[in-house]
């Protein structure tokens, strides 16, 4: 996992964005606090200095220099305790009163001064910051009033530091959280990507990892795994289908080829050519029919067929009647039983073909003098179609298998048929959300297809 990858993740970018937003809002908040506290204190100090200076200047104009000097001396007595600074100088800068020893060094800018002074004044425990304002009085005297603002500066520094640290912690924490989240996310993405890569490389059995936390990643992985399951099933089915098709088409195609080849290799009578061509035609028709059936199965399995509300008993009746002569020709007895109200939602053509395939099988496998029953019955929930014969039946273990494509229990394959008849029936049943059961008819086979009743739809 490269650092560059980590930084490129969307999570990291999101956490970076969140960090910036958070840092800006923290800065704005702390800025408000700063202005609200430090700024306010500064303003108060300035107001106090200005007020006192104004008051003293008035005193001077009222009481003259001596009065002012005595007031300043009086105020200077407890000035150190209050953090106040006073100084009165004459035109030659000689101090007349106040607790400051010298006129502060920095040249004044306007009427405000900032300077450092030993505090307590003269005593000198350390240098303190001070802020002062002066006024020029009549007679060349200058009066200065100031305050010790060391405490305020300490407070300001504290707030600035707090602000700085808070910002730093915010940034660092968001960076760490972003990196951790991105790494966790990237790990899962990488795991999914690895699994996908394996699947692309042909390992269809591979599944996406599920962390069992039931988070959105798990939900996505679970859905994708279900999809992969379905795809694998379909591909396997298709593979089996392709194998079976090539197997079952190869037979007739090979026969076809050898017949044509045999006919061409010798000079023969026209009637022999005719015979060979008619056989070839029969062979080709068989291949085409096989092909057609496969297409129909695929179609039914894909579910791309139109459905209508219809009476299954009518369809069964029609197909039964279509087969009646064939059944009688095989010296079998066909019993048709239908009930009214066997309404299903279905495709008439495919249903008819499924019934025809079942009757085909019954006719093919039931020995002479046997019985074939074609029954349609309806209950409030189900419509059941049953085709039962008195043939050899299908042994229980084989019943699942005969529904697969190209499976023929008659392994010698002497009787005609593609092995697709029941597969089509199964596909049609699935398409109609019907249940297909093969059971024992004692003796014989009983095929039952249970469709969901659709009488409510017909009303």
């Amino acid at each position: 996992m490269k650092a560059a990858n980590l930084i490129r993740t969307s999570t990291f970018r999101l956490s970076l964005l969140a960090m910036v937003v958070f840092a800006v809002s923290a800065a704005v908040l702390l800025g408000f606090i700063y202005v609200g506290s430090v700024g306010l204190l500064d303003k108060e100090t300035n107001a106090a200095i200005s007020a006192e200076l104004r008051g003293l200047a008035q005193q001077y104009s009222k009481l003259s220099l001596d009065g002012l000097e005595s007031i300043i001396a009086e105020r200077s007595e407890d000035a150190d305790a209050r953090g106040a600074l006073y100084m009165l100088v004459d035109a030659d800068n000689r101090p007349l009163a106040g607790n400051l020893a010298n006129w502060p060094k920095p040249r004044p800018q306007g009427r405000w001064l900032r300077f450092e002074v030993d505090f307590p004044v003269g005593g000198g425990e350390g240098s303190h910051h001070a802020r002062a304002r002066f006024a020029n009085l009549a007679g060349g005297y200058r009066l200065l009033v100031g305050r010790d603002i060391e405490e305020r500066i300490g407070f300001k520094r504290l707030i600035t530091h707090t602000l700085g640290w808070a910002l730093l912690v915010t940034v660092v924490l968001s960076l760490i959280a972003g990196l951790l989240m991105s790494r966790r996310l990237l790990r899962r993405v990488d795991a999914v990507a690895r699994a996908s890569r394996n699947i692309i490389d042909g390992d269809m059995g591979q599944r996406l990892p599920v962390a069992d936390t039931r988070d959105e990643f798990d939900r996505l992985s679970i859905s994708l795994n279900e999809m992969l399951e379905q795809i694998e099933k379909l591909t396997t089915g298709m593979q089996v289908g392709v194998d079976s098709i090539s197997h079952d088409l190869r037979g007739p195609l090979t026969r076809l080829r050898s017949q044509i080849e045999g006919a061409l290799s010798r000079d023969l009578d026209v009637s022999v050519y005719r015979g060979a061509l008619s056989n070839a035609l029969i062979e080709v028709d068989r291949v085409l029919q096989l092909f057609d059936t496969l297409v129909r199965i695929a179609q039914a399995e894909a579910g791309a067929v139109g459905m209508e509300v219809l009476d299954l008993a009518t369809v069964a009746d029609e197909v039964g009647e279509l087969y009646e002569p064939v059944v009688e020709e095989h010296r079998l007895h066909l019993e048709l039983q239908g009930t009214a109200g066997a309404i299903v939602l279905g495709n008439r053509q495919l249903l008819a073909q499924a019934i025809a395939n079942l009757l085909d099988n019954a006719v093919k496998y039931t020995p002479a003098e046997g019985r074939i029953e074609l029954t349609v019955s309806a209950s409030p929930d189900w419509v059941e179609l049953t085709v039962a014969d008195t043939g050899p039946g299908v042994a229980a273990p084989d019943r699942e298998r005969v529904l697969e494509r190209f499976v023929r229990l008659d392994t010698s394959r002497t009787s005609p048929g593609s092995g697709l008849g029941l597969s089509l029936v199964a596909a049609v049943a699935r398409l109609h959300h019907a249940r297909l059961d093969l059971c024992d008819n004692g003796p014989g086979l009983r095929v039952r297809i249970s469709f969901p009743q659709a009488a409510a739809l017909a009303a």
């Binding site: 057609d292 129909r296 067929v305 139109g306 279509l322 002569p325 593609s418």
Partner: protein, 225 residues
């Protein structure tokens, strides 16, 4: 009889044109839907054979456009799409018959002839006659040489279809489609057995058979050989 074939595969088109010409038809071909529609509206054709999938304008759109221009000649749609619903769509858009590829030419010919004959007034006559066989559609009775032949309802429909197409070849799938309205190939010879029953009733005891089997294609009801 003038047939227009709309087929984009040149070898299929050439084969069909040759085969129809051998049967005495005049044939024009078009390889795209737009050309085909142009030809169909310009000329006077008795039958259109339209491939479902065509470059330019697809088969169904051609059929629709032809019908919208008020042309009423029969149209047979050829298609490699074997889907059950495709047939319905083809007929709904104005096609008269629908045949899935691959098909036997005999099947196509039989259907083309059926379509060309259709719409003629005698096909709707109350009484159909072939030789000494007579079928009355109103009284639903069949007589041969004056003698009443007893037929079941479905046998009557089969015979009626054969008589309406007398002299033509009728295929098994055509019978299954028109008499039962089912469009699949039954594995067993169900239609053959029905026909042999009718043959028992219609031809047995008469020196000249009317119901003939056409090898590899189907059946034909006609006088003489």
């Amino acid at each position: 009889m003038h047939i227009l074939i709309l087929e984009d595969d040149p070898s299929t088109a050439a084969y069909l044109a040759k085969a129809f010409r051998e049967h005495g038809y005049t044939v024009d071909c078009a390889a795209s839907g737009t050309d085909g529609l142009h030809l169909a509206t310009g000329g006077s054709f008795d039958l259109l054979i339209v491939d479902r999938m065509l470059p330019g304008l697809d088969g169904l759109s051609v059929v629709k456009a032809v019908r919208e221009r008020g042309l009423r000649m029969p149209i047979l749609i050829l298609s490699a799409l074997a889907q059950v619903d495709e047939r319905v769509r083809g007929l709904r858009e104005g096609g008269d018959d629908y045949l899935t590829k691959p098909f036997a030419f005999s099947e196509l010919l039989a259907r083309a002839e059926g379509l060309l004959r259709r719409g003629r007034p005698e096909a709707e006559d109350a009484v159909l006659k072939v030789g000494d066989l007579e079928l009355n559609r109103l009284t639903r009775t069949v007589r041969r040489a004056g003698r009443i032949i007893d037929l079941k309802s479905r046998e009557f429909s089969l015979l009626e279809f054969l008589m309406r197409h007398a002299g033509q070849v009728v295929t098994r799938t055509m019978l299954l489609e028109s008499v039962w309205d089912y469009h699949f190939d039954p594995q067993t010879n169900v239609i053959d057995v029905h026909i042999s029953r009718i043959r028992q009733k219609v031809d047995k005891g008469f020196s000249r058979p009317l119901l003939h089997t056409v090898r590899g294609s189907g059946y034909s009801l006609r006088e003489g050989r």
